[in-house]
Symmetry: C2
Subunit: 334 residues, 2 copies
Amino acid sequence: MEKLAIGIDIGGTNTVIGLVNRAGKILAEESFPTPSKKLNAQGSEEISKELLKDYIKGIANTIKLLSSQLKVDSEIVGIGIGAPNGNYHKGTIEYAPNLPFSGVVSFCELLGAEFPKVETIRLTNDANAAALGEKMYGGARHMDDFVMFTLGTGVGSGLYSNGNLVYGFDGFAGECGHNTIVENGRVCGCGGRGHLEAYCSAPGMKRTAFELLADYHDETSELAGYAYRDLTSKHIYDAAVKGDKIAKKVFEYTGNYLGQAIADTVNHFSPEAVFLFGGPVAAGDILFQPIKKSLQAHLLPVFQKRNIPVMASELDLGHAAILGASALVWQALN
Amino acid sequence: MEKLAIGIDIGGTNTVIGLVNRAGKILAEESFPTPSKKLNAQGSEEISKELLKDYIKGIANTIKLLSSQLKVDSEIVGIGIGAPNGNYHKGTIEYAPNLPFSGVVSFCELLGAEFPKVETIRLTNDANAAALGEKMYGGARHMDDFVMFTLGTGVGSGLYSNGNLVYGFDGFAGECGHNTIVENGRVCGCGGRGHLEAYCSAPGMKRTAFELLADYHDETSELAGYAYRDLTSKHIYDAAVKGDKIAKKVFEYTGNYLGQAIADTVNHFSPEAVFLFGGPVAAGDILFQPIKKSLQAHLLPVFQKRNIPVMASELDLGHAAILGASALVWQALN
C-alpha cells in the first residue's frame, strides 16, 4: 500500500491537485479554473458561500476521482494546501484579494469534512509551501537553515530556521516581499511604499523598464516599442539576451535590490543557502550575477567570508506548487 | 542546595560576573576592567595569548571567590557568556573589534578547563543574551515568538522564534543592526552604508542631531552649543524633554527608522511582541510614539490589524547583561 499526500495549489487563476508519494513523485495530477472573483463581486455574501461550497466539492471530487483511477494500491495520509493569505496555525485563508471568498475561510475544516478519515490537513501560503518542497524534495534536503524567495506576480518568501518553517505568532510570517527597500519608493499592491515586491516582482521589473526608458530617453531599445500594458518580463528577458542595454539594466537594477533585501534576511537568519524560485529565475546569470554582487556588497564581513550560496530552486517550476503543498503533509507526519 | 548559573558579560570596557538563581535573583556580582586593546596593539601574538590566559584565570578566580563567599549552600550548574561576535554553535569569540584577543578564541573551551565539573558552558552575543534574559525573567516569559532590539553604542537584535533563539547556520544570526535602511546612506561602523545602526544607535542619534542642525540652520537649539565630540544621546534626551525642537526631531527621526526596521523584522517573523532594550529606551514616549507610528505605517494590513505591542524590556538595565548570560544556562538545561 503506497502512502500518498494530496498537494493542492490554490491560485487566483487555476487550482491544481496532485497525488504525491514520499519521494516526491507525482502519480496523478489535475487542474481546473479557480472560480472567478467576478461572480462574487456581482453576488451577495450568500452566493459567495454557495460558490465556496461548490469549490470544495469540486476539489474533493477531483481527489476521489484521481485516487480511484490509480493503478497502485494507495492510502491518502494527508492533504496539504498552498494558498494566498494561508494561515498555517488556523488552517484558514484570510482576506485573500485574488480569491472569490470573502473574509476568513476555514478551508481545512471545510475540506476535512469531505475526508473524515484523513487526520492531517495543513494549509500555508504558497511561498512557505515552496520552501517546504525545497526541503523535502529539492536542494535544501540536508539543510536546517535556509531561505527561499519566490519571484512572480508578487515576491514571496519562505524562511526555514532551526529545522522548521517560520510561521510566527499568527501564522503569517515570511512576508519579505513587503520589506521596505526604498524609503518613500514605489507604491506597492498592499498600499505601502518602496517594498521589495514593487521592484523585483515581474510587474516590478516592467515598472523598472519604463523608468529606465524615461531616464535614458532611449528610443533605440527594443523595449521602447511596447505599450505599458503590453510589456512582460519575458520581453525584457528576451531583449536582455540579445544585448539590449535597457533590458540588461533592468536585470542589474532588479538584482541589486534583491541582493540588498537578501542581505537583510541573511542578517536575520544567517542561512546556509538562499534559494530563488519562479519565472524570472530562468534568466540565470543575467539575474543571479547582479544579485550575488549586491548581496556581497551589502553583507557584514562575517557573512561575506562565508560566500553564502544563492541558487535556483531544484523544483520543477510547473509542479513545485503541488509538491510544496504535499510536503506540508510529510513534514507534519515526521 | 541552590542551583546557580554564572552569567558573564564581556564588554569592551568591563567584564561583569554574576551568580544567578533560576528565578533571576543575583546572589553575588563583581566586575573588573576588560584588558585593554592597546596592550595587544603594542604586543605580539604571544603577548595576546598571555593576556587571554590571565583574563580567563581572572574570571575563574572571581567566580570561585564569589561562590566561596556565598552564605547559601550552592552548586554551579552552568556558565553563560554574553560577548561581542560570540558564536553560539562553536563557543567562540570571533574577530571582535573591541576586545584585545585576535582571531578566533575558543572561549568556552578555555574557561571550561578551569571548571572541569561544569558541563554546561554556553556563549552568544550580547543582544541574543538580552533576548534570552527577557524570555527567562522578563516580559517575554510566556512568549514563543518575539524579537528584541538593543539600542546603545550599536544596534543589536535577538530573534526568538518558535520557542527558540535563532542562531542560524553559523551561530551569527540576529544582526538586524546592519539591515539597510537608507540606500547609499550613512557609513556604518562595519564598513557598509545606510545600516540601521548608523541611524538609531546612540552615536547615530548624535549624527542625526548634527544633520538636523545643519539642515534647519537652527542656532537657537540647545544642541547647537556642543562640539561634535562632546554631544551625547543624554544631552539630546534632556533637551527634548525641555521641548528643544531639534532634539525632539532627533527622536522622531530615530523612531521613524526604527519603526521601518521593525516592520521588516515583523515581516520575517510575525512576532507576538517587540521589545526594546538599552539606554535610549528610558526616553519613553518621546521615542516609543514615533516608533509605533512608523511601525504601523510600514506594516502590511494583516499585521496592522494586530497592533503588535512595542515595549520596553522588563529587565533592569544595569543587570540585564549577566541575567541574559545566565539565561543561556537555564535554556540549555531545559
